[in-house]
Structures are given as C-alpha cells and as structure tokens.
C-alpha cells in the first residue's frame, strides 16, 4: 500500500511540474500574427530533429535554435519581444 501511495504522489508531483516551474507568458497564434513584421520581435524556432525537419510550416525569418542553445538571444537588445515556438 505504501508503494502505491508513494507512486501516486510521485505521479501527482511529476504532472504538476510544468505548473510549478514558474510563470512563462504564452501567446496564441493570432497574437503572434499581429506581432509579425515588428522590428522588436525576435522569433526563435526551438523545434529539434525531425520535429523541425518534417514540418512544412516554418515561420519566415524565425531563427532556428537547435539543441536548446539560446545564447544567440544575448545578441539582441533586452527590451525586444522574444517568442519561442515549438509546435
């Protein structure tokens, strides 16, 4: 019984991790569409491997970030709007 409860608690905590990871603001596709063309928008395509290569939907001018290395973001002014998309 102890094992079942432990496993249950582990599952609860594991599934709640995204919520506990802090508040990262998200935007929907209409909000992004409105931002496209703006000088302050910096768009990162963070899809990796086949997630990226199989997709026929790639936003023009998005910067592809492979392997999770976002160091390229440091080259842009901090007051820009940074958007990461993964799907």
């Amino acid at each position: 019984m102890k094992k079942i409860i432990t496993l249950f608690l582990f599952c609860i905590i594991f599934s709640a991790m995204p919520a506990l990871s802090g508040s990262v603001p998200t935007i929907d596709k209409d909000e992004l569409k409105a931002l496209l063309g703006s000088d302050t928008l910096v768009l990162f395509d963070v899809r990796t491997g086949r997630d990226w290569s199989s997709s026929g939907e790639k936003i023009k001018y998005a910067i592809r970030v492979d392997g999770g290395d976002l160091s390229v973001a440091k080259t842009f002014p901090k007051d820009n709007t940074f958007v990461l998309y993964c799907a």
Partner: protein, 409 residues
C-alpha cells in the same frame, strides 16, 4: 503466382516510396539539376546488376532457405550477425523517423487539431495489428500502401511534366554538377531488392521494380525542377511538399500528404515484413519454448515496442536519429556488397571464368558505403553506430548459438 510477384515488387518499393527517400531525391535533384537523372541511371544500373547476380539461377540454386544468403562468403556466424544488424536497425530506426513525419503531415495537411504523435501511434498500431492478424494481411496492405504512393507520385509528376511550368524552369542560373556523393547517394535510393530468400523466378520482377523506380524518380525530378528553383529543392527539408504545392496548389499538397502517410506505412510495414522473414530463417535465434504462432509475431511486437518507446522518449526529435538512420542505410548498402560477393562466388562454381563483374559491383557497393561514411559530417558517430550494432547483433547471434548448435551447412 502473379499475386506473389506483385507483393515482391511492392516490397522492393517499400523504402523507395518512403518520405525520406523523397527528401533524398528532392535534395539531390536540386544539387544536380537535370543531369541528376544520369546519376539516377547509374544508381539504377548498379542496383539492377547487383540484383541480377543475387537472383541468378546459379547463385540461388543451392540455397537451403534457412541460412543467410551471404553465408557462402563470410561464414554462417558473420552472415547471421550482419543480417540481424541490418534488418533490426532498419526496422526500428526508419519507421521511428518516418511515422513521426506522417504524424506531422497529417497534422499540418489534414486535421490541424489532431496531435501529430497521436497519429503516429495510430499508424504504428495499425501496422502491428496487420502483422498480428497474419503475414498475408500485411502483404496485401503493403501492395495497397505502395500502390497509393506510386499513383499519387505519378499523378503529380505527369501534371508537373505536362502542365504549365512556373518561372523557375530547371533553374538556369544554378550551377549544376554531378559530384561523387550524388552518384553514391543514388545507390541509397534503390535499396530494397534483397528479398530474404532469393528466388531466380522473381528476378525479372525485381528488375522491373528497379526500372519502375528509376522511371518514377526521373519523372518526379523533371516535374520538381520544372516548378521549383533547384537551390530551394536542395536546401529544403520537405522538398516534396514544395514541389507538389507548386505543381497543383492545395490539391497537390493534399495528394502529396496522402502519399507521405501511405509511404510511411509502406516503409514501416515493408521493413517489418522483410526483417521478420529474414530473422525467421535464423532458427538458432529462438528459444525452443516459443511456438510457431508467436515466432511469426514476436519480431513485429518487439519492433513496435522499440519504436513506441523511441517516440515517447523523444528520440524522434533528436538529431542523432538522422545519423543512425543514415547508418542503417549504409549498413544496408554494405550488406548488398556482401550478398553480391556471395552470389558471384557461387556463380563461379558453375562458370569457369577467371574474373566476374560481380566482384567489381560488390567492391563499388563497399566503396560507396565507405565514401558516404567518411564524407558525412558525423563520421565518428556513424562508425560508433556500426560497431555498436554489429557487436550487439554478434552477441545476440552467439547467444542463440549457445542454446541451439547450428547444423553443418
């Protein structure tokens, strides 16, 4: 009889009509331009010569059907190890990548709200169900999957060739050349003609499939280059979508979407069938308590679990998968070299010619595999993959031999 030959042809096409083969074709067509068709002809001719040797009556006559076809050259243990390594790596790695591609295609072309991985798992479940139902179901489905892709590609190609071309006709401003990697790469496109038990009666149908593949690839190359700038084809990760979209607009994208999904099913189902048949011949690999019913189904179940776990744990999103897929394909080319060599040595037992062209063909296959390995950006990873795959397969084979001592050949 005709039915069984049609199934053989559809199995030869299983990789040829896959999404990854179409990417390779599109990229190379962009790099080479129209002269790439000459490279395709060289690749098709070499593959046809290799198949002609493997299915030669003098090469297949003494085959017991229970030993790996290249046993004659390198011995039973090494031959079985190569068969296990090649078939398993192909049956697990290629479907992992291409089912994911099918998922994305379905999501982006047909039903936007449907999860792409959900669709990949549905296809995997469908193919596993076919194999659990029985070999006959899987073979008939293979005919259907391959037929759909060939029909869709022919439709788009003919529309592209005979329809109006857009502004970038054959990319007149792009520099064309036929470098060695391009010619070696065409050998990858025609793989699939090595059936587990080569039968000389199937020879003409195998050759027909290779010629058919060449015609289909050439038509698609002409159609693509007539509508898309070569540099765009060369650099795109989905050149088939761009070509289809330019040829027929939205209906073209729908047709290629159907072809990509059917092609993913074709490569998964086809490689499952080929691997299952090849591995079933290695009777030493099975513990004695497994009965005949489960023997025929244990490998598709194992492959499906491996593919499912790879997708769940995000291996499809890893660049390493692409390197391993290339590694599996290069192992396949090398295995063709071994089979060609074995066939040549068998033929020489009945023909007393001092030199046979088969030695040259097999050497070209080995050299092509080696060249593509050393010129790749991930040479070290490819060599690691070869060593790891062969060592694991060697251990599995040796384990089987420990429990089932093989009878003398």
């Amino acid at each position: 009889m005709i039915w069984s030959h049609l199934i053989t042809i559809s199995l030869v096409f299983s990789w040829m009509v896959s999404p990854d083969a179409l990417v390779l074709l599109g990229n190379n067509a962009g790099k080479g331009g129209l002269p790439f068709i000459a490279a395709l002809a060289i690749g098709a001719a070499l593959s046809a010569l290799c198949a002609n040797l493997i299915y030669h009556p003098d090469a297949t006559g003494n085959s017991s059907g229970k030993t790996a076809p290249h046993t004659f050259t390198i011995g039973r243990y090494a031959a079985t190890t190569i068969t296990v390594a090649t078939r398993i790596s192909l049956a697990v790695l290629l479907p992992t990548g291409m089912l994911v591609t099918a998922g994305f295609t379905f999501n982006e072309t047909f039903v936007y709200w449907f999860p792409n991985f959900g669709f990949s798992f549905i296809l995997l479940g469908l193919i596993l169900t076919l194999h659990l139902a029985g070999e006959r179901f899987a073979e008939v489905a293979q005919l259907l999957f391959t037929g759909i892709v060939i029909f869709c590609l022919l439709l788009l190609s003919l529309a592209g060739v005979f329809g109006t071309t857009s502004e970038q006709v054959y990319g007149a401003t792009f520099h064309f050349s036929l470098p060695l990697p391009l010619i070696c790469g065409t050998l990858l496109l025609f793989l699939g003609y090595d059936q587990p038990s080569p039968d000389s009666k199937a020879r003409r149908y195998i050759l027909l499939a290779i010629i058919g593949g060449f015609v289909l690839f050439s038509l698609w190359t002409i159609a693509s280059l007539g509508h898309v700038a070569p540099e765009k084809l060369a650099s795109s990760t989905v050149p088939y979508i761009i070509s289809a979209g330019r040829i027929l607009g939205t209906p073209g994208k729908i047709i290629i979407g159907i072809a990509i999904i059917a092609g993913s099913c074709s490569v998964t189902n086809g490689l499952f069938i080929l691997a299952n048949k090849s591995l079933l011949q290695q009777t030493n690999l099975f513990p004695s308590f497994i009965n005949h019913f489960w023997k025929k189904r244990i490998f598709p179940i194992g492959f499906s679990i491996a593919i499912g776990l790879s997708m769940i744990f995000g291996f499809a999103g890893d660049e390493l998968l692409e390197t391993y897929i290339l590694g599996a394909l290069l192992l396949w080319i090398a295995a063709m070299g071994f089979r060609c060599l074995a066939a040549t040595r068998r033929i020489q037992l009945t023909q007393s010619c001092p030199f046979h062209y088969g030695y040259l063909i097999s050497a070209l296959f080995f050299l092509a595999a080696l060249y593509l390995t050393v010129t790749d950006n991930y040479t070290a990873q490819l060599f690691s993959f070869f060593v790891l795959t062969l060592v694991v397969s060697g251990i599995v084979t040796a384990g089987g031999y420990l429990f089932h001592r093989p009878s003398p050949p």
